[in-house]
Every structure is written in structure tokens, then in C-alpha cells.
Symmetry: C2
Subunit: 394 residues, 2 copies
């Protein structure tokens, strides 16, 4: 069944195609595809909760829906900042925003009759692919950079029964393996974010934000492989086209200073992106030197009159503590980059405190429980309780 309410377009060679779920990359040049949904978002038609609430506005034909009730995540108002909200994507079923895209991708794979799903991952995609594949009764093969995946994420992949290939190399090299395998073996379905169907699920982050607080002024997104910032922009773009919002919020990418090809391009006003060969950062989820979706991310940033910013590991750890200790929200390091970015953008005047905005908190703190804080003040002796309480009261 061909979906007539949209089309697909290659961002490299500009070829266009009818909506076809079998297409993952451009059949002409191998470039990335965009899925253009031309169906107007009609709020009155929305039913249910989560990603599939918006199914009428997600192109494709889903005979088998593989869902864990993903999406419908909390939008938490900041306690410290009047006009700031946190979209807590860590409360998706496997603990990260990846589940929103995975439900679409794995539903496509199951509908099309695939039996084997493959992914490269810094960890969150691995956990999500493993869980959704398991639910669909499919097999999962993961390419993971050896020793570079946060403990919680590796544990999830094993728990959900994935088959793991450890790569002596970083994420970018793992992703190359997936691309090569996909090119020569038509039995495997790839669920990395070069798969545009995944981004159709992730765009629902924008729809949920809109339904709760209307039209924000800005959105800050941790940016690694760079699919999510594009997906969220795409969601707002569709809301704008449907006449539901007046302007696209400024899309702001935050990257770690050890892994910042997109921020360097935007801030440096470079003519060409320069990839980072050996990305390093404590924020493993965005430790990606060659973002596969960089063209899409740059389009989102430029179209929305947005920006990009770098934060270092120290700022990320401080941000993680700030969110946990002042807002009560536990996130993994990549997500904490957003609050560090917000402070910087307030300080440099790019944002002001009256701007209404959302930080996308992409993953839960429990994903990466290995960060140790230097202070040991948390530990107190049983004998000193009364003295300690008197000190606390002051």
C-alpha cells in the first residue's frame, strides 16, 4: 500500500521517491533519505498515549505494531528557572529516547518480514533494539565498541538476549561495519539513525511538548549521531505547516568538547564539517566523531535560526549533579550537557530567562552508574547522627 500523503527525498542527490518502507537509504546514490509527511496534524484525531497517538501522521503501513507503550514521558517544570522545562526521555521503556524510533523501525522490520535486526551503538540504541526485537520475536546483532559502552546499557543488551560483536574501535567504526553488512546482506534490517523511519518516531517528542506547553522558544538537544535534533525539528516543522505553531523553536545542539564536529562547524562558520577521529568524553552517548546525520542536523539548526555549543566533561558532571540535587532528576552524562549549555547560553546572552525552552534529557542516570563523585561527605557514621542532624538544621 503506497502512502500518498508524502514522499521521500535524498538529501545528497535530491532524488524523490514515493513513500516506501523498503527504502532505508537512497537507491540511486546511497545517501540519507528524508521522509516528508504532507498530512496536516489534526489534534482532534489524536487518540491514546505515547508515540502511536500520532500514528496518522507517521508515514508507512504498520501491519504489525511492536510497542512497549514508549513516549508519553514527563515534561517536568524546572524548580530553579521559571520558563524552563525538562523532557525526561529517560523514562521510556529501556531508559532512553531511542525507544520512540525503535518502535517504528522494529514495527517496519516485522511488517516487512525481516528476521534479523542489526545496530551499531554506544549503548542506548543497543538496549532499545534488543528489547524491541525481543518483543517482536526477531534476533538482534549488535556491533559495540569494546570497553566503551556504559555498564547499564551493556547489561540491558545481554538481558534482552542480543548477540554482541565487540569491535576494537570506536562507534564510528562499529557503524561502518553495520553499513557494510547492510550493503551486502539483504537479510538484515539496520536500526541505526541513518534509517529514516526511526526519526519518524522521534519527531513525536515535538508533538508531546506542543500538546503540553504550546510553542517553546528554544529546544536544547544532546547531539551525537545527530538524528534526534533533526527529528524534533521535523516534528515542529510539521506542526508549523499544520498551522498549529507560529514559529519553529531555535534548535540548539550541545556537544561535548572532545567530540564536537557539528558545534565546531556551526560556531566556526566553517564551509565544511571536519570529523573527529578519536572522540573522547565522559558522555558516552554522544561520543561520536562522524555524525551520520550531520547534514540533517545542520539543516535543522540553520532552518530554525538555532545554534550549537560545546561543554566540557567537568561542566557535564556539574550539570548532572545540579539536575539531581536541585531539580531531583537523575540523568546520564550526555543529558546533563543540556543544563551546562543552558547556563552558558544565559551567560553569553544568546538566551534570556524569559525565553520558554525545553532541555531534552535523553537518558536515565541508571544507564551509567559508574561515575564516582570525589567527595565522601555523603557517608556518615552511625554514632554522629544527632550531631549531624543539628548541623543540617542550621
Amino acid at each position: 500500500m503506497i502512502d500518498k500523503h508524502g514522499f521521500m527525498k535524498c538529501i545528497s542527490c535530491n532524488s524523490t521517491f514515493d513513500i516506501d518502507q523498503n527504502l532505508i537509504v537512497c537507491p540511486k546514490c546511497g545517501g540519507l533519505l528524508e521522509i516528508i509527511n504532507e498530512k496536516e496534524i489534526d489534534i482532534k484525531r489524536l487518540k491514546g498515549k505515547g508515540v502511536w497517538r500520532y500514528k496518522d501522521f507517521i508515514p508507512g503501513n504498520y501491519k504489525k505494531i511492536v510497542s512497549l507503550n514508549e513516549g508519553n514521558t514527563p515534561l517536568i517544570k524546572s524548580r530553579k528557572f521559571e520558563n524552563l522545562y525538562f523532557k525526561f526521555e529517560g523514562l521510556n521503556p529501556t531508559g532512553s529516547f531511542k525507544d520512540r524510533g525503535m518502535t517504528i523501525a522494529i514495527s517496519s522490520a516485522a511488517t516487512l518480514g525481516y528476521k534479523i535486526v542489526v545496530a551499531a551503538s554506544t549503548g542506548n540504541t543497543a538496549a532499545s533494539a534488543s528489547a524491541y526485537s525481543a518483543r517482536a520475536g526477531l534476533k538482534t546483532i549488535l556491533f559495540l565498541p569494546k570497553g566503551k559502552v556504559a555498564k547499564g546499557k551493556l547489561f540491558q543488551s545481554i538481558l534482552h538476549g542480543a548477540h554482541i560483536v565487540e569491535i576494537n574501535g570506536n562507534f564510528d567504526e562499529a557503524l561502518d561495519k553495520v553499513k557494510k553488512l547492510f550493503n551486502k546482506n539483504k537479510d538484515v534490517y539496520p536500526v541505526n539513525s541513518f534509517n529514516p523511519w526511526r526519526l519518524e518516531g522521534q519527531k513525536t517528542i515535538a508533538f508531546e511538548i506542543f500538546e503540553e506547553i504550546g510553542n517553546p522558544d528554544f529546544v536544547i538537544v544532546p547531539t551525537g549521531n545527530a538524528g534526534n535534533i533533526y527529528a524534533i525539528w521535523k516534528g515542529f516543522k510539521e506542526l508549523e505547516k499544520s498551522g498549529l505553531i507560529e514559529k519553529i523553536p531555535k534548535m540548539i545542539a550541545v556537544q561535548s568538547s572532545g567530540s564536537s564536529p557539528i558545534a565546531d562547524y556551526i560556531i566556526g562558520k566553517k564551509k565544511k564539517i571536519e570529523f573527529v577521529e578519536n572522540p573522547e568524553t565522559i558522555a558516552t552517548a554522544i561520543r561520536i566523531g562522524k555524525p551520520v546525520n550531520y547534514m540533517k542536523a545542520i539543516k535543522a539548526i540553520e532552518d530554525s535560526n538555532g545554534y550549537a555549543i560545546k561543554v566540557d566533561d567537568k561542566e557535564i558532571i556539574e550539570g548532572q549533579k545540579e539536575l539531581a540535587r536541585e531539580e531531583g532528576i537523575g540523568v546520564e552524562p550526555a543529558s546533563a550537557s543540556t543544563i551546562a549549555a543552558y547556563h552558558k547560553l544565559l551567560n553569553n546572552g544568546y538566551l534570556n530567562k524569559y525565553d520558554k525552552g525545553v532541555l531534552i534529557l535523553t537518558g536515565h542516570a541508571l544507564k551509567d552508574p559508574n561515575i564516582l563523585f570525589e567527595e565522601d561527605s555523603y557517608s556518615i557514621s552511625s554514632n554522629d547522627i544527632e550531631v549531624f542532624i543539628n548541623k543540617l538544621k542550621i
Copy 2:
């Protein structure tokens, strides 16, 4: 302001009191209090999402609401069993059902002007108390059994800035410390489940289940300190009193065979509960030998014509794998006890496959990432991919 739509009653001496948020235990005998809500649940008055959607039916006066948008968790339909649903409480903000009660307890503490919150914990209460206290700007003191708290949970408590007292003893001894401290120091607010206000938040699990699937036939609840099974029963009881359901679902407690005082009492038809001095089980969240709420739990089980059942650690691990690999849901061991119990109850004829029921999955897999599975079949060599794919296809 006195809430006239209910009263409080001691389950030990039967004294009754007006609704008073200052009361945590019976002022006459020190026994546990029940909070009786006499306001009929009116579905038309419900607004918003999560625990506070039901605020009109939660006694007490909350001038300060401390919330992370807890509740509103997925009710996931089983892929294998036609009439079975999973209430995935692991998707609360700190990864367990404890957040539902904590938002009420910490809102009470903040409303009443407390500055210091105390809790004993096997880990999940610690994580939740730390996060909500942080959000309220209060200090947290935790009593934790040394070496007995799952890694993720300890990490969360540190991340959220709690002050930790490690006890050379088990949870029951840690809880004794909290009770003693609470008796002699009126500056601390205790948030363990002997605090009946917490259970008022937890009862909303029943309300959410009802709003999605109506009246289930049974509910299986992992049972440690035994507050949750009572709280969920209480929610259904209020729905029944409001004329919204016809019968209370059978409340079924599942305990680990190394820590099963309530199951032993129910199954053995004993006259008196016998506590377990040295409880042992892989399911740390229910490793509790002296359940403080055992009287409430037994009331819930008996009133609902329910049951209790024991499962061993091997069955729990098998259950964890089954949920992860066949349903796609990652839970901590205590939660996995429910699917092991369901199998046993189907096999022994207590339940049949036409009974509509819900398993309460209390905590996320990421809470306890230390379980290792013996098989190493998950790891495959990069060179064997094609061979491996061909094997998978068969």
C-alpha cells in the same frame, strides 16, 4: 484545615482520629495507621496525568506539591498471555513504584515545614527519597544495610546528594534505627512505608489500571515490607465503594522463598506470622524478614479472597529472562518474581488463562545491573557474522 472526608484508624488499638497530616503512627499505642478516604471517586473530576490526577481522593492538604510527574506508567499487554498485563512501575522517575508514595510523603513534609527526611531502605526507597527531597530542598539521611543495596540504587542516592549511614545489619535493623530516631527526634520526617501517607500515593496504581482495563480478576504484587499490596488493594476498595467496580481483584503476594514470612503465614494457614531473621534472596528489593505492614497486607489478601506464593531465586532469574527476551520488558529481580508466580498459579489451577490480571513490575532492570547470566552465547566473533546470520535464519 481538617479534611472531613475521612478519618484515620489504628490497626492495632482501633482508635480513630480526624485526618491529620502530622500523624504518622498512632499517638495512643504507636501502631500503624490506616487512612480512610470516604470521598467517592468521581471519574469526571479527574484532570492531568499521574498520581496528582487523583488528588481529590487523596486525603490531606498539600500547600507545597513536590512532583516529578510520577505515575502514568505504561500498562503493557502481554505478548504471550492473552489476558495478562504488565504495570511497568520501573518507568517512574527514579525507576520504581516508590515515587508514587514519595511525592505524597515529601509534599507532606514540605507542607508541614520539615527540613530533614529519613529512611531505611533496600535501595529503591533510598533513591526515591533522595530525589524528591532534593527537589523540595530538604536534606536526606538514609540507613542502608552495608553491601546489600543494588549498585544502581546506591549510585542514585549518592547522585541525589543523600547522606548515607551504612548499617552492619539487614534492612530490618536499618528500619529499627529509623523508628528509634523518629521516636526521639521530632526534627526528622520518616518516609518508610509505616508512613501511611506514602501508601495514599501508591493506591493510584489501582486507579490507573482501572482507567485502562476496567476491573481485573487478579493482581500479583512482589511483597517485601508489604505496603504496596495493601495500597493497591486500598485503591480498588475505594473504586468498589464508589460503585465503579463490582469486585476487588484477588490480591496475590509473591515472596522469595528465602524471605517469605507472609507467604508462609497464608499458605501454612498459621495463627501467627513468624518473622525471618536472616532473609536471603537475589531479589534485594523484597529481602525483608519482618515486614512492617504485614497486618495490612494480610488484610488485603484476605479481604480480596487472594493468595500468597513463594518462588525461588532460580525461578526469579528465569522470570527476568522471560520478561526481557519474550516480552521485551527489563525489570529488576523482585519484579520478575511476578511472572514466576503467574506460571505457578496457572500450573496449580489457582488461576486460568481466561482470568484477566496484572503483574506489578515494581522496578527497572537498570536498578540492579550486576546479575550475570552464565551463558556466553551472546558474544560472537566479527569474522563469523555471515555464518552466524545464516544460522539465525534457520
